[in-house]
């Protein structure tokens, strides 16, 4: 039997200042996925979000695009990633989620993907270009039967009724995009307080993590004020570019965020 989903356990134990850090599989080096995960776990990340690289990452800004291209040039793929994650649960005990775009997952096969993710101990999936309608009618049962949470995005422009609908279909947590922008945008997060407050006041079923535009302790604290935690992506990828000591670089980076 599969243990209880680690995201559920995490949110049962901790409901604020949760730190989810994104890394791209196969970046900065093809074999560095495991080292990056170790470094994140050791230095205070609560959730590891692994990006499955894609040739056309529409929702991502230049930093994550570049990391995707580099990882693909290294030869990263979904089958190889599942190989790399095969033994991760010997050492990684925090929740792990996979983020990517729909097409590579569809080519792998959605059923095979969910089964493989379950087998290696993944806890949740983010596919920003999988629409609600198709999720509900074609894929929801597959995710649930494999013990995988499916995490939807909401934005400042998502209407309230749609947020309710997304909340009813989500499990794990809801990924609140802090501004309507691609990843790595640095519009001031403080300007979005009304939106975060609205989400907080809606008393949603699912916890909320805020993402996009978080890169230091000020933005992290601002995001956490009205939510259960925050997601960091581009700022960490930028840190990993050209580093020799992944452990040290990750430690310094996360100290700056949580310090």
């Amino acid at each position: 039997m599969r243990p209880k989903n680690r995201l559920d356990k995490l949110f049962a134990e901790k409901n604020k200042d949760i730190l989810n850090v994104y890394c791209t599989a196969g970046y900065p080096h093809l074999e560095s996925t495991a080292a990056v995960m170790q470094a994140l776990q050791q230095n205070g990340a609560d959730i590891i979000e692994i990006g499955m690289p894609y040739s056309d990452p529409l929702a991502d800004g230049p930093v994550i695009q570049q990391s995707n291209m580099t990882a693909l040039e290294h030869g990263m793929s979904i089958p190889l990633l599942f190989d790399q994650l095969g033994k991760m649960r010997d050492t990684i005990h925090i929740p792990v989620i996979l983020m990517g775009y729909l097409n590579p997952v569809l080519q792998y096969g959605m059923a095979a993907f969910c089964e493989a993710a379950n087998k290696v101990g993944v806890d949740g999936i983010i596919l920003p270009d999988l629409p609600i309608h198709e999720y509900e009618t074609e894929f929801r049962d597959l995710f649930l039967s494999n013990g995988l949470h499916f995490i939807f995005l909401v934005t400042p422009d998502t209407p309230e009724a749609r947020i309710r609908k997304i909340d009813s279909l989500s499990s794990g947590f809801i990924y609140a995009v802090s501004s309507s922008s691609t990843t790595g945008n640095t519009a001031p997060i403080e300007q979005q307080e009304a939106y975060f407050k609205k989400l907080q006041d809606m008393n949603l079923i699912n916890p909320i993590l805020v993402g996009f535009g978080i890169n230091d302790s000020t933005t992290f604290r601002a995001a956490c004020r009205y939510s259960n935690g925050a997601i960091i992506g581009s700022a960490y990828i930028r840190t990993l570019t050209d580093v020799t000591d992944i452990g040290m670089a990750t430690k310094e980076f996360l100290n700056k965020i949580t310090g």
């Binding site: 291209m69 979904i78 080519q107 934005t155 422009d157 995009v177």
Partner: protein, 392 residues
Amino acid sequence: MSFNVNEHGYYGNYGGAYIPEMLYPNVNILQEKYLSIIHEPGFRQEFHQLLTDYVGRPTPLFRANRLSDKYGARIYLKREDLCHTGAHKINNTIGQILLAGRLGKRRIIAETGAGQHGVATATVCALKGLECVVYMGEKDIERQAPNVARMKMLGATVVPVSSGSKTLKDATNEAIRDWINNPLDTHYIIGSVVGPHPYPDMVARFQSVISEEIKKQLLDQTGNANPAYVIACVGGGSNAAGAFYHFLDEEQVKLIAVEAAGCGIHSGKSAATTQLGRPGILHGSKSLLMQTADGQITEPHSISAGLDYPGIGPLHAHLYESGRAIFMSATDAEALASAFELSRMEGIIPALETAHAVFVLNKLNFRKDDVVVICLSGRGDKDLDTYMKYIS
């Protein structure tokens, strides 16, 4: 069989709106409003007035006698190359700029491959006094310099795209990212029958004026509104969608879509999507797509920037899968040869894209009285550099 889009935006197995949440408000408002807006009497009146007085419609349907003699059929050319700006693309940009106005948008973005859609977008933005930003791959900027100059002359900002293959696919990615980052004031004028629902249907409707006119003109000129064949090139497929539109339910009309085979379908340098692609998701819809076994989109190749795209519109994927349209292809060399043939036999220099459609005259077995309509989607001024290299 239905060739109309269903309520979720699908043609058979293809279509839909596979978009990140950041695009939802803009795409949703289009889904909800596009049909009511384009059916408004005021909209229709303004659209047709501009097509008449500004674009120069109806475009002629020209009986090409020397080609007819050579290929043993009654060959007609639908002269979209005579549209203002030199291609069919402006039919769609006129429609979308009027729609953008009714949605209160002040800023327009577009992607372009050959530059024809970029020019057509820059043109209507100048006409309506709206800001215009066009994304274009660096490789295409190089090979379609005259159109880059035209866009700048018209006041548009041309943004070079250096990601990926530096062509149409990547320009589309950047335009979509711009739209994500500018959700309130911006309308994205997609140039082909691709993208999330309702774009494929909306663009096909604006381009359907092509087949509407063909029917009337054929009835006048031949006494029969339906030809034996309609032939059009397909990159994303907007001129083909427009040329096929009013014939989709006329089963006796054979619809021929011509893809770019590049250096040969199996050469590794091709853009023949139906021959090389599998179902997948790109730019917001499910369609046939050139991709690796891992689902990474592959870089297509065509001498023609307008056909250099790794997918086709979902309507075309459905026409291919259902057998309603026959998909053929022309290589770079075959298209070049046909461009010269049309120039020297009929005095019409076609765009490289269009030349692909002309080529298949060599491949089809006509009966003497078959009426064949080729959609002459654009003129060749932008391709003269390539043509001159070929001469020397």
